[in-house]
Symmetry: C2
Subunit: 268 residues, 2 copies
């Protein structure tokens, strides 16, 4: 703990504390290699709703450790990148989508995982992100890689992913579930134009509960800015039933009052 002890009191994150053998208090050149280096990576929990089931984008690992296991997409933060930038770059690379499209996707920092032994080889601190995307085709295998290296996997079927990715995925699911309650985030899972039935399916899928159709409709339409009607537009709902009106995501981001999960216990 010598490095931090030397730096104690110099405020948060003071690299001067890391200079080798620093004894004086005056300014001195610091040596970036005087402390054990950390690798900083991003991991992405890319979630989507496909056919009433929550899916996550996984990559099959080709190398040890965890060769052959599924893992969340991710990679290194480059020297001139923020974690957010790195996450969006990785997202574009893994999904094969155009960068302009990726820029419009919902991407949000989840939390940072820093347990010393989360990677058996070296010290890796990973900033995890959650991305919410509408239903889209299987990720294109761009760059001449294996055709099925990246796949959408139902979250219920994810077993023994690499590293601590099971924990990250669980945290992402919990975060998304509670954010649906008090934000307008559900539209991030929908295409640009969607029906209220599709929006309700997002809630039902993420929460795993059925919602009353008329009540859901009343609540969503009563929240100003949640959705905006597309004038005159309607979509046949899979062939059956009355055609539903189409809506777009509105400008609101928060839900006041919130749309609480049914049967949610009084304490968590």
């Amino acid at each position: 703990m010598s490095a931090a002890a030397a730096g104690r009191g110099d405020g948060g994150g003071d690299p001067d504390a890391a200079r080798a053998g620093g004894t004086g208090t005056g300014p001195a050149p610091y040596d970036p290699y005087a402390f054990e280096p950390f690798a900083v990576t991003v991991d992405l929990a890319v979630l989507t709703v496909r056919g009433g089931v929550l899916h996550v984008l996984l990559i099959r690992r080709g190398q040890e450790p965890y060769a052959g296991a599924w893992a969340l997409p991710g990679g290194f933060v480059l020297p001139r990148e923020s974690a957010e930038t790195a996450a969006r770059r990785e997202l574009a690379e893994e999904t094969g989508l155009a960068p302009s499209l990726v820029d419009s996707l919902h991407l949000e920092q989840l939390r940072t995982y820093s347990e010393p032994d989360r990677d058996p080889r070296m010290r890796v601190v990973s900033v995890a992100f959650t991305a919410l995307v509408p239903d889209m085709p299987e990720p294109a295998a761009e760059g001449g890689g294996d055709a099925d290296r990246a796949r959408w996997v139902p979250v219920g079927e994810v077993t023994q992913p690499a590293f601590d990715h099971a924990r990250i995925l669980a945290d992402a699911r919990e975060r998304v579930g509670s954010k649906l309650e008090y934000t307008c985030l559900a539209t991030a899972f929908c295409p640009p134009e969607f029906t209220l039935g599709e929006l309700r399916a997002v809630y039902e899928t993420v929460w795993g509960t059925a919602l009353d159709r008329p009540n859901f409709r009343r609540k969503v339409l009563a929240t100003p800015g949640f959705v905006e009607a597309v004038p005159g537009a309607a979509r046949l709902t899979g062939g059956r039933g009355k055609p539903a009106a189409l809506y777009r995501a509105g400008p609101a981001t928060a839900l006041h009052p919130p749309l609480l999960r049914p049967t949610e216990g009084p304490a968590r």
Copy 2:
């Protein structure tokens, strides 16, 4: 972006991607120094309520950059520490509290700040934490340092703190404000036994709004597990008024339904 490009597809945080000049696909020893090192630090937004004003613990910097400026306490994550462990260690060092006491304080990861230029000297990625502590005396100047190196500062009087600490503090305030709405977190600002008036003062201080006394009481007592009455105990409220009953924090952590901020707009 060569390092990440080389590692693309190997799953999140694969240090193999960092080995210098890696061309083959088979296993090879990795070199921790093949990529530009990142320093990983923690920054702490330690908040407390003193006399109806939200305060944050700040440290006066002794070195450049930002010498003489106030900064959030923090420091390096050591090679065998998680960020959480480092945050609690720094918290104990900066407040001078016993480690056992620090272990009981509420500490929660806020988010990670990773802009490339947030520290002018080198690449520093900082995991920020929010700590909520009850009102306590001025931090002891342990270790023979300056007597007033660490101070409680009203958040409204924090001007031009070092690095991006203004942003971190703003994020912490916003997070705490919204967590008061849907969690039982407010008790973390209170001593072990407190009156409902003190608990209400926490909400009023963090939110900056007045709350109706009887309605607040009704809501808190109607939430199972939020607070537990201390049998027979009462405390004189600063000399004036009827003595108030004492309560302890209950086992609940979530508020269902939430206690929403008054006059909170329909969209944020």
